[in-house]
């Protein structure tokens, strides 16, 4: 009896020892920063390290900051455009490449390569192709009288352009996840549906999509998170537009970076971070609601 108890304790002790390096690291570099963000939002911290208690000053400033509503709208628009669009493109690619395609493996690699490139390289590629008037894209679009559009320089188009570039760089990754999900659907389901005379659309809506719900949930959640709080919302914007023109692409991550490191206002940047976390929470809850928490059947 005492032998088993001591073995149990020994096992638990070993477990904590095995866990400790990562737990300390995660605590110090992820959990502590979150706690600190709350504290710092009440401080006035200059970039040179001088800290003083500022009460609710930073929060009051949120209310009178006329750039903040713009940044919120940009972040919201970016997610609401890029998430469904890359979902549809990723799923379309997976459906196209799932069946028999000559050299299908090579095509998958071609579609996946943009995802392997860094966002800095992605941004440089498109910036070059979109150079006003002389770039490849304006040159090709001259044929349909759209050659004059400044894709990154016109506030009307800049965010749409960033969305398009995002979809291009992420589609291959989502395609792979969908291919994994599609592979898990038993073939008998489709055979049975074919015998019942179900067409392509019918099979998609009544077998494929419901069976893909867990995959869809994962993809929607991760891509919404990536658009709202991911590095892509900083890297792409920093490289392509610096938030402009006229704040048309001012995402929250870019705005936070600007407040923290261009204006050296770490306290206010922390208050902005809390706003960002709140948005993320709303997006996560919305994703759970939309996909019913990844469950298979409507009625569960």
């Amino acid at each position: 009896m005492s032998a088993t108890t001591s073995r149990r304790t020994q096992e638990a002790r070993a477990a904590w020892a095995f866990l400790s390096p990562d737990l300390i690291g995660l605590g110090l570099f992820i959990v502590l920063p979150i706690v600190l963000a709350f504290g710092m939002a009440f401080m006035s911290v200059s970039g040179f390290g001088a800290v003083r208690f500022a009460g609710v000053d930073n929060f009051l400033r949120l209310l009178s900051d006329n750039k903040l509503p713009k940044a919120l709208i940009v972040t919201f628009s970016y997610a609401i455009l890029a998430v469904p669009l890359s979902y549809v493109v990723g799923l379309g690619l997976a459906l196209l490449l799932e069946g028999k395609v000559r050299g299908g493996g090579l095509v998958r690699t071609m579609v996946f390569i943009p995802y392997v490139l860094s966002l800095v390289v992605v941004a440089l590629i498109w910036q070059f192709m979109l150079v006003d008037k002389t770039g490849v894209v304006p040159t090709l679009l001259r044929g349909v009288n759209l050659g004059h559009i400044s894709w990154l320089g016109d506030p009307q188009f800049a965010l749409l352009t960033v969305v398009g570039i995002t979809v291009w760089s992420q589609a291959g990754y989502q395609m792979l996840l969908f291919l994994g999900g599609l592979g898990g659907i038993p073939k008998d389901f489709y055979d049975a549906a074919s015998i019942d005379g179900a067409g392509w659309w019918r099979r998609l809506t009544s077998i494929t999509l419901p069976m893909l719900r867990p995959t869809s949930f994962f993809i929607l959640l991760t891509s919404a998170m990536a658009c709202i709080t991911g590095v892509q919302a900083f890297d792409l914007i920093f490289m392509l537009t610096r938030g402009g023109p006229a704040d048309a692409t001012l995402t929250m991550p870019f705005y936070i970076y600007e407040q923290a490191f261009t204006y050296n206002d770490l306290g206010y940047a922390s208050a902005l971070t809390l706003v960002l976390v709140a948005i993320l929470m709303v997006a996560v809850i919305a994703t759970f609601a939309l996909t019913k928490g990844a469950r298979f059947h409507e009625g569960d």
Binding site: R8, E11, A12, A14, A15, F18, L19, P21, D22, L23, G25, L26, L28, F29, I30, P33, I34, M40, V45, L96, G99, V107, R108, M110, V111, F112, I113, P114, V116, L117, S118, L119, V120, V121, L124, I125, Q127, F128, V131, V136, W168, G172, Y173, L176, L177, G180, M225, A226, T229, V231, F234, F238, M252, P253, Y257, A260, S270, T273, L276, V277
Partner: protein, 277 residues
Amino acid sequence: MKGTEMAARRRSSEISTLRSLAAWAVGLVFLAPFLWLVITALKPASETFAFSVAPLTLANFQHVLVQVPLLRYMGNTAFVAVVVTVIALVFHSMAAYALARLRFRGNMVILNIVVATFMVSTPVILVPLYIITRQMGLLDSLWGVIVPGIFNAFGIFLLRQVMISIPKELEESATLDGAGYWRKYTGIILPLIKPTLASLAVLFFLANWNAFMWPRTILADQNLWMVQQGLSSMQGQYGSQWHNIAAAAVVVALPTLIMFLIFQRFLVKSIMISGLK
């Protein structure tokens, strides 16, 4: 009967030809922007905006490798990526071993906390992480990139999922031989999860190689710059010298592409697993 069957078969082969054509067209559209970058890198400056492929030259590559300290940036980045990857694999496989194979109170709580940290991205903790790194004296040091870069919930979670599927009997016989937990972890579990460790190694290396935001935040000394930061700085300095920027971008992208093409199988599998679980 026979006739309709043949017609159906012919129809389905027509569909598969159409599908192949569509797939190749889509594949080329996706690859074209990168191909255009490579072609631009190989063309003289005067031809940058022309729809031509000849005459090809390596002059742009020579120029950027001599004029821009790209090799130094690549060296810094490789150092960071290798150190992070090695330490991360050791720490994460240890944590995963505890979570997957050892019984202790709080196992599920810890697992849930680890998974929850997966939702925290660099922009969210950027400011406090900067303060912590400054307090530790790691600003303007590659260790300021390495140390916070090690800790990553995805790796722990993926390794735990793989370890949990290993049969218990394998460890039980070792227990009878008097093996301790450390010996079971190194002698039995680690050899069995080599493929997962390999794919994580590739993923970690790529992630560090492509990292931009955090290195740019803490590395001011140009001698310490990492590769994406160095490449991004050409944007201002080199203005509209797109032939040189293209050459530098190709040099920076090349290691990741080579690595991806070599380890494609591993990578694809681990990405698919991550989506399913």
